[in-house]
């Protein structure tokens, strides 16, 4: 009954997690979505201009490759890029580049390798999971800053915003092939993103994650983070302001000892507060169904897609709408922190009441509440009842799962079926990932209260 529409593939984070060789299919179980290697390598890029050469030469000594290495074994489990941001040896990269080492420090070591082949260990000072950033420090730097001095890249001043179409250069080590510079354009901020991201019109490949994007003067404007694998040269950067803020906040911090799950948990709790507040505050769209007000969110940080299916055997006709967020928070082996909604509006006038009820029930049954493996989440628990919204009767089911390594965070799903007509109905589903119990209740209430008749009956 439910066709799986996939208009576009998800964002792909850019850490390279394939084992050797780089062009082989990546290991399927590896952390960031791994559909990257081959097609990315073939993506065309504009010819490198003179200024690109100048930018690369200036930045070459500040650029590093970041490797996550299995403890006690020489093999790397993932590679990304990074860059020096202070003379004291601070390095910026993406959280997803260092997530294995941050979350399972007992199994992984971090090292950096410079363009001229120098290799040294790294420590993690601070994480910004929500913007996918990590602040590291070179292990061969003295903590006081009195030791050796490092060449560092400077951030572009926030008072000089880039204009759309300006040329920018993204640096990193794609697919572990070697350090590279790719040229592209600044296209402003991504529309409907929950957290600001720069839309970079250039090619990014796996392994470039955490590398800097520089303007023509060689100042950092963003950090390479992701690309769309269903498009060409549609890539994303974390704006430099978050990177410089992280540096300011964490440059004197002590290295993180032990697993970073408590830090991730704390940041996700902040995220879910913001997400819940913004979601509830934005209200609902009107005119979503001729008979009911079916909850559909405005297009602020979500996108809705619709399909319409007419039965060709005189069966059930239905329309479907799917609303999703682009933003999701990467947490090592899974992502969370996103909201999605869906509804289907069924028309069984050709079928009669009994046949309609059978199909309506089959669709209500055809729901899964299992997203992550039992290693990460408990099994679902549900509560259900009939509820009434100004006389409109509904069957409501709320199912929740708790995260095992992220205390006080839950996934909540709300299932609703209207029960006022015998040949027509609407079924809706609301999902929020990684929210507190109180916010799960608030969101469930907000969603359920959105249902009502358009005109009084």
């Amino acid at each position: 009954m439910r066709p799986r529409i996939r208009r576009w593939e998800a964002l792909t984070a850019l850490a390279l997690v394939a084992s050797s060789p780089a062009f082989a299919q990546p290991r399927p179980a590896a952390a960031p979505p791994p559909e990257v290697a081959a097609s990315a390598a073939a993506a065309p890029s504009a010819p490198v201009s003179l200024s690109a050469r100048k930018v690369y030469e200036q930045a070459r000594s500040q650029l590093v490759q970041i490797r996550t290495v299995l403890k006690g074994r020489a093999s790397q489990t993932s590679v990304g890029s990074g860059f020096f941001v202070s003379a004291q040896g601070h390095i910026l990269t993406n959280f997803h580049v260092v997530s294995e080492a941050a979350l399972k420090p007992e199994q992984h070591d971090l090292v950096y390798v410079t363009a001229d082949g120098r290799e040294a260990p790294l420590v993690i000072l601070q994480l910004d999971v929500l913007h996918d950033l990590a602040l590291l420090r070179a292990g061969d730097a003295a903590p006081s800053g009195a030791g050796r001095r490092f060449d560092a890249l400077a951030f572009r001043s926030a008072t000089e915003p880039l204009a759309q179409g300006e040329r920018i250069y993204s640096l990193g080590n794609p697919l572990d092939v070697g350090f590279a510079v790719t040229q592209g354009t600044y296209n402003g901020l991504v529309k409907r993103s929950f957290y600001p991201q720069i839309f970079f019109g250039g090619a990014l490949s796996a392994g470039m994650s955490g590398g800097p994007a520089l303007d023509e003067e060689g100042h950092v404007v963003g950090v390479n983070v992701a690309r769309r694998i269903d498009g060409e040269q549609v890539s994303f950067l974390v704006p430099a302001e978050f990177a410089s803020a992280l540096l300011a906040r964490g440059k004197d911090a002590a290295p993180i000892v032990g697993s970073a799950y408590p830090i991730v948990d704390e940041q996700l709790l902040k995220h879910q507060t913001l997400l819940t507040d913004r979601f509830i505050q934005q209200g609902w769209k009107e005119a979503t169904h001729p008979r009911y007000r079916v909850p559909v969110p405005p297009d602020v940080f979500m996108r809705c897609w619709g399909t319409s299916t007419v039965s060709n055997n005189g069966g059930l006709d239905f329309e479907r709408s799917d609303c999703v967020m682009d933003t999701r928070i990467f947490v090592g082996e899974f992502t969370t922190g996103t909201i999605s909604l869906r509804h289907e509006s069924y028309d069984g006038t050709k079928l009669g009441a009994l046949r309609f009820a059978q199909r309506y029930a089959a669709s209500f049954r055809n729901e899964s509440f299992v997203r992550l493996s039992s290693q990460h989440q408990t099994k679902p628990r549900c509560e259900e009842d009939y509820i009434e919204r100004d006389g409109l009767p509904l069957r409501a089911v709320v199912c929740m799962r708790a995260y095992k390594k992220l205390p006080q965070l839950y996934d909540v799903a709300v299932l609703v079926a209207t029960l006022d007509q015998s040949r027509n109905g609407v079924q809706g589903r609301f999902d929020a990932q990684g929210v507190s119990f109180a916010n799960a209740q608030r969101l469930a209430q907000h969603y359920l209260e959105a249902y009502r008749w358009v005109a009084p009956h």
């Binding site: 009820a357 099994k379 009434e388 919204r389 205390p407 359920l448």
Partner: protein
């Protein structure tokens, strides 16, 4: 010996099948009677597990105060004679039984013998069992069968879209009839093997009644769960389904081993208990709950709803107890995760 009147045998020795049918009988005019494979025996048993001269049976008449004595003597035999299913008389030994008025069962080789004496009490005539009876009464069975077919047709009508309905209905009726024929045929074959009668009518009757009950069980609990908002009803309705299946198996078995009613009851009850326990265990493994359904997912036309709806506020407030349950599960499972390096993925 002199006690026997003219025309009345001194005794009757019968070879009995395991279902109680008499395969062969010998009129015994005088004792002792010799049993064996050799042709000079009074009772010749051509079974390779029987010795040439296997045993003799003698009856010593009693007096007014003492009953007669039955003497079972095993002769040159390796296998001996088993008396009344309990006691084995080895070759060369003999066993004396005081005649208590009951027939004496003897096992000689693979042959089950029964010794009847004229003074033994006769059990009252038994009425024909329901089993044999149904073989001739088809009308009620046909009535139930028609109800089952109607039910199947109705279900097919509900489940298929208007256009392909006729074809699906034909298929559904054919599959039901063919399935019933195969099922009942196999049971009839078993009955024939063990009782010499196929009891086809009985098996068909058991099948159609059980099918009707199962069909009703596929609708009624779901309907009640919907009408009254009783999720537990469909969560555990599999218990009623297992009970029906166990009862059906019991009645089928009754026509295979009519003499072992108790044993068949035990088989059916054990099957039911084991089935239910396995299902509950499996559900706990799969979902962490003993019930079948995560949530009540049976929807019927809205007019059939009886339960009163609650308010959103009350419903959402009612979610609160889930938190403690989920937190407990998250804690105990992540705790066990870190201890064992085990991969507990399902």
């Amino acid at each position: 010996m002199g006690g026997a009147a003219l025309g009345e045998p001194a005794a009757l020795l019968e070879a009995v099948d395991r279902d109680g049918f008499v395969r062969q009988s010998w009129r015994i005019e005088r004792f002792p009677v010799s049993i064996g494979r050799a042709l000079d025996n009074a009772v010749v048993l051509s079974d390779s597990h029987v010795a040439a001269h296997h045993a003799t049976i003698d009856v010593v008449p009693g007096s007014d105060t003492a009953p007669a004595t039955i003497v079972v003597a095993a002769r040159e035999t390796r296998n001996g004679v088993v008396v009344r299913g309990r006691e084995r008389v080895a070759g060369g030994a003999a066993k004396e039984l005081a005649d208590d008025g009951r027939d004496v069962e003897l096992q000689v080789g693979r042959v089950q013998l029964r010794l009847r004496l004229p003074n033994h009490a006769l059990a009252a005539e038994q009425a024909m069992s329901a089993l044999a009876d149904t073989d001739h009464r088809w009308l009620p069975t046909l009535g139930v069968a028609a109800a089952v077919l109607l039910f199947v047709l109705a279900t097919t009508w509900i489940e298929t879209d208007p256009e392909p309905f006729v074809r699906s209905a034909g298929m559904a009726v054919l599959t039901t009839i063919a399935g019933a024929a195969v099922w009942c045929g196999l049971w009839a074959l078993l009955s024939k093997t063990f009782t010499r009668q196929s009891h086809f009518g009985w098996h068909v009757r058991v099948f159609v009644v059980a099918s009707l009950v199962l069909l009703v069980l596929s609708v009624v609990p779901a309907l009640a769960a919907f009408a009254f908002s009783w999720p537990w009803l469909t969560d555990y309705s599999f218990v009623a389904i297992y009970a029906t299946a166990a009862a059906a198996i019991y009645f089928h078995l009754l026509a295979v081993e009519p003499g072992r009613r108790k044993l068949m009851q035990a088989v059916a009850v054990t099957g039911f208990v084991v089935g239910v326990a396995l299902s509950l265990w499996f559900n706990v493994q799969r979902t962490g709950r003993p019930g079948e359904e995560l949530y009540m997912n049976h929807l019927f036309p809205p007019q059939l709803r009886v339960a009163r709806p609650t308010s959103v506020d009350r419903f959402v407030a009612g979610l609160a107890p889930m938190q403690a349950i989920l937190d407990k599960k998250a804690k105990e499972q992540s705790g066990s995760d870190s201890e064992g390096a085990g991969d507990d993925d399902e």
